[in-house]
Amino acid sequence: MALSFPSIEWVEEFKRQINSSEGYKKAGATWTAGVVALVTSAKPEIGIKEDVGIWLDLHQGVCRDAKIVTAEDAQKAPFCITGDYARWKQVIKKELEPVKGMMQGKLKLKGDLPTIVRYVKASQELVECTTRIDTKFLDE
C-alpha cells in the first residue's frame, strides 16, 4: 500500500530502507556529524497546513531514529535541508539531484558545507532509499 509523503508511516519505512541499504551502510560508514533534518514547506491546498520536519538520526551508516518533527525542531539539527513539496517530490522521483538542487537554490541547506560535500555519495544512497518506498504524493 502506498505511503503518503510526508507521514509517520513514510518516515518509518524510510528508516527501514536506510538500514537495509548496503550502499548507504558503506557510503555513510564514517558519518558522525549528527542529525540530518529535511523540511517540507507548508502547502495547505494539499493538506500540509504547516512546515513539516523529518528528523534522521544518522550515525556511522545506520539510521538510529527517524521521526516527524516541527520545522522549528528540525532547524536545531546540525544539518537541515528545506524545500517546497514540489522539490522533494522531484528528489524522490530522481528528477532533481539534491546537491544540484542546493546549488540552484531550489533546496536550502543549513549546515557545514565541507562536511556535506564529503558525503555526496551517501546523499545519493539516501535518495536511492526513497525511491524504494511506494510513495503517494498528496498533490496527485
Binding site: Q104, G105, L113, P114, T115, V117, R118, Q124
Partner: protein, 620 residues
C-alpha cells in the same frame, strides 16, 4: 561613454613610442569590451597569418566597461593575441586587482606591438606612462619580481603588477601571465607572446574615477546583486572550499578525469585532493578579487615534508586535477608545490599538468625512457619527478624543451602511437571536465574558439545543474550523458557566456544572477539601451567574429573534433560506457550556427550579424 575611460594605450615596443586611441562607440555597443573588443581590434588592424612570436603579433590587454565599478565580480580583464601554443586565436581572462587599477589609471586597454631591443617594463601612474629598463629583472620569478616592483613603485599606493616569469622569457608555449602573484592569464601561451616582446611587466597605479550612467539605479542594483551573489549556495561552496569544491561532487558525476583520462572513478583521490581536504589541512585564509563577495581564492601553506611551501596562493580545482587525479598523485601537498612552481615560473597549470600526464603515459608505454628524461622517473604519481620536470620545462632543458611545446607537438615528435595519448582540441589541452559525463561539454570543446575550453561558454554551470537562465531560453535541467538537445544548449551557452569575457565579469558571480540582471549591469553602467536580447546578440556576433578570425588563422571543419581518448568509453564511474555522439552534435550545431562545409560562418549569417567586413574577408 560611461563605464569606459575611452582611452586605449598603444605601445610600439620596437621604437618606444606610445599613443592613445579608442574604438568607435558602435564597436563598444556591439562587442562591449574585453576579448570581444580585442578580437575586433585584431581583425581591423593585424594580420591573422602572423607568426605568434613575431613582433607583428599584438598582445592586447583589455578591460570591460564594468571593470573597476563596484558591481560584484567585475575585476576581470582579458589578454589576447595569436597563440603560440595553438597557432589560432588566443585569449585568457583573469580576476585579481590589475584590471580595476588600469581603469583607475584612466585606461581601458593596452595594445603592445613590436619587440623591444632590450628587456623593459611599462610603468603607468595615472598620466605618467613610461617604458623602463628591465635588464636587472630578467630572470626573476613572478613572486620575487612582484614584491620587487611593488616596493619600487609603492610609496603612496600599492601598485598592481602584471608579469611574466622565466617560462615566458624562455618562450614556453603555454607560458602564463601573472597578476599580483595569485591570479593568472593561464591559457594559450600569452606569457610567451609577452616574453617574445621582451616585455617583463606592467606596473600600474591610478586614482581616477569610473563614471556610471545611472548612479541611483546602479546603486540599488549593486546592493541587490551583492546580496544575491554572497548568499547563493555555489558562492558559499566556493567561499568555504574554493573552486576545489568541485572535486568531490565531480567524482560522483563523472566530471573528473583520472590517469590521463583512462579511469572513471577513484574516491580515495577525491577525498585526499578535494576542497574539504584542502580546507582542513592547508588553508590559512581566503582571498578575494576586487569587489568580490565570494572570495573563492585560497591562501595555503605546507608546514613540512618534501613539499614544504611557504604561505601563498593555493591551487584551483583544475590544478588539483592536472597535478592530482590526472597523474595519480594522492598528495595534496605535492599539488600545492607544483602550483607554486607554475606560478613562479609562469606556466598554465592545465596545459603543463596535462602535458606531463601525457609524458607519464608515454613513459609507462616505453615511448619515453629514463635516458630521454635525464634520469627522471615519470612513474604515475611520482611528484618528486614531476617537480624536477617542471624546472626543465620552464628552462627548456632536455625533455623539458620538447614538452614545453605542448602535448600535441611533443607527441608529433614521438610518433603516431604517442599522438593517441594526447587529449587536446586544436592544440589546447582539455581542461578537467570529462565530456563522457557531460556531452555538451564535448561539443563546447570542439567549437570553442581557442581550443578545448570550459570557459568560453556557460556549459560548465548549466549542464551540471549549478545554474540556469530560463529567461534566456535554457531548460531547468539537463541530463549530462546524452547528446540530445545539446547543440541548442551549447549555442545558448556561448551566446550568453561569451559576453562575460567581453564584460570581463566573473562567471562564478554570473552564475548567481539572472540574465536580465546581467544586461541591467551593462545598461546602468554604460547608458547603452541594453537588454537581454542585446546581450545574446552580442554573444552571437562575438562568436562569429572569433570563429572567422580562427578560420583566417587556419581553422576548418576537420579541426572540430574530439580526441580518441574522449571517444573511448570508460569502464567504471558515473560516466561508464558513455561517449558523446560527435557526428550528431556537430551536424546539429553547424546547422544552428550557420556554418558551411568548411567550418566557416556562411556569408548571410555574418551579414545578418553586422559583420560585413568579416564576410568579405572570409568569402571574398
Amino acid at each position: 561613454m560611461a563605464g569606459y575611460q575611452n582611452r586605449i594605450l598603444e605601445v610600439d615596443l620596437s621604437i618606444s613610442q606610445m599613443n592613445i586611441i579608442d574604438v568607435p562607440v558602435e564597436d563598444k555597443r556591439r562587442f562591449i569590451g574585453g576579448s570581444g573588443v580585442a578580437a575586433k581590434l585584431f581583425l581591423d588592424r593585424f594580420n591573422p597569418k602572423v607568426d605568434p612570436l613575431s613582433p607583428d603579433n599584438p598582445l592586447i590587454v583589455m578591460n570591460g566597461p564594468l571593470t573597476g565599478t563596484t558591481l560584484p565580480g567585475t575585476s576581470r580583464f582579458a589578454v589576447c593575441g595569436k597563440s603560440p601554443l595553438t597557432g589560432i586565436w588566443g585569449e585568457g581572462t583573469c580576476g585579481g586587482n590589475f584590471g580595476p587599477e588600469l581603469k583607475f589609471a584612466g585606461i581601458d586597454g593596452i595594445i603592445f606591438k613590436g619587440v623591444s631591443p632590450t628587456p623593459v617594463y611599462l610603468s603607468i601612474e595615472d598620466d605618467e606612462i613610461e617604458l623602463r629598463d628591465a635588464s636587472e629583472l630578467w630572470g626573476m620569478d613572478n613572486y620575487i619580481l612582484t614584491d620587487f616592483l611593488k616596493q619600487r613603485h609603492g610609496k603612496d599606493k600599492n601598485p598592481k603588477v602584471l608579469s611574466i616569469g622565466p617560462a615566458g622569457e624562455n618562450l614556453v608555449k603555454f607560458a602564463a601571465i601573472c597578476n599580483d602573484k595569485g591570479d593568472f592569464i593561464g591559457r594559450t601561451g600569452m606569457g610567451a607572446v609577452m616574453g617574445s616582446k621582451r616585455l617583463k611587466a606592467v606596473v600600474v597605479k591610478g586614482t581616477k574615477k569610473v563614471e556610471v550612467s545611472h548612479p541611483e539605479e546602479y546603486a540599488a542594483l549593486r546592493k541587490l546583486l551583492i546580496t544575491k551573489s554572497r548568499e547563493a549556495m555555489v558562492a558559499q561552496s566556493f567561499r568555504s572550499m574554493g573552486t576545489d569544491a568541485g572535486m568531490d561532487l565531480g567524482m560522483m558525476t563523472g566530471d573528473v578525469p583520472i590517469k590521463n583520462w583512462m579511469i572513471g572513478e577513484d574516491l580515495e583521490l577525491s577525498a585526499n585532493l578535494g576542497g574539504p581536504a584542502m580546507t582542513e589541512r592547508y588553508l590559512t585564509r581566503n582571498h578575494a578579487c576586487s569587489f568580490c563577495p565570494i572570495a573563492c581564492k585560497r591562501i595555503v601553506k605546507v608546514d613540512d615534508g618534501p613539499f614544504k611551501t611557504e604561505e601563498g596562493p593555493g591551487p584551483e580545482y583544475e590544478t588539483c586535477c592536472t597535478f592530482g587525479t590526472l597523474i595519480m598523485n594522492n598528495d595534496l601537498a605535492g599539488v600545492i608545490k607544483a602550483n607554486e612552481w607554475c606560478n613562479r615560473y609562469g606556466m598554465d597549470t592545465i596545459s603543463c599538468g596535462a602535458t606531463i600526464a601525457f609524458a607519464m603515459e608515454a613513459f609507462e608505454k616505453g615511448l619515453i625512457t629514463r635516458k630521454d628524461t635525464d634520469g627522471i622517473d615519470l612513474t604515475w604519481g611520482n611528484m618528486t619527478g614531476v617537480i624536477e620536470l617542471l624546472h626543465k620545462i620552464a628552462k627548456q632543458e632536455g625533455i623539458g624543451a620538447v614538452l614545453s611545446e605542448g602535448s600535441r607537438k611533443a607527441a608529433k615528435r614521438l610518433g603516431k602511437e604517442a599522438e593517441e595519448l594526447t587529449v587536446e582540441v586544436k592544440g589546447l589541452e582539455a581542461p578537467m571536465h570529462d565530456p563522457r559525463g557531460f556531452h555538451g561539454m564535448g561539443l563546447a570543446y570542439m567549437m570553442s574558439i581557442r581550443g578545448a575550453c570550459h570557459l568560453m561558454h556557460l556549459s560548465l554551470g548549466v549542464e551540471q545543474g549549478i545554474t540556469t537562465y530560463p529567461e534566456a531560453g535554457f531548460q531547468e535541467n539537463y541530463t549530462g550523458q546524452t547528446s540530445e538537445g545539446k547543440a541548442e544548449m551549447i549555442k545558448l551557452c556561448e551566446d550568453l557566456g561569451l559576453p562575460f569575457n567581453s564584460l570581463a565579469i566573473c562567471e562564478f558571480v554570473a552564475w548567481t544572477l539572472s540574465a536580465n540582471e546581467l544586461a541591467e549591469m551593462v545598461r546602468l553602467t554604460t547608458g547603452f539601451d541594453f537588454r537581454l536580447k542585446n546581450l545574446l546578440a552580442c554573444g552571437e556576433r562575438t562568436w562569429l567574429l572569433k570563429r572567422g578570425l580562427g578560420n583566417m588563422m587556419g581553422i576548418s571543419a576537420k579541426d572540430d573534433r574530439l580526441p580518441k581518448r574522449i571517444l573511448t568509453p570508460l569502464k567504471d564511474g558515473a560516466a561508464a560506457g558513455s561517449v558523446p555522439d560527435v557526428e550528431k552534435l556537430l551536424r546539429e550545431y553547424y546547422e544552428i550556427r550557420g556554418l558551411d562545409e568548411e567550418g566557416k560562418p556562411k556569408r548571410e549569417v555574418l551579414i545578418k550579424a553586422g559583420l560585413e567586413d568579416l564576410a568579405e574577408k572570409l568569402h571574398g
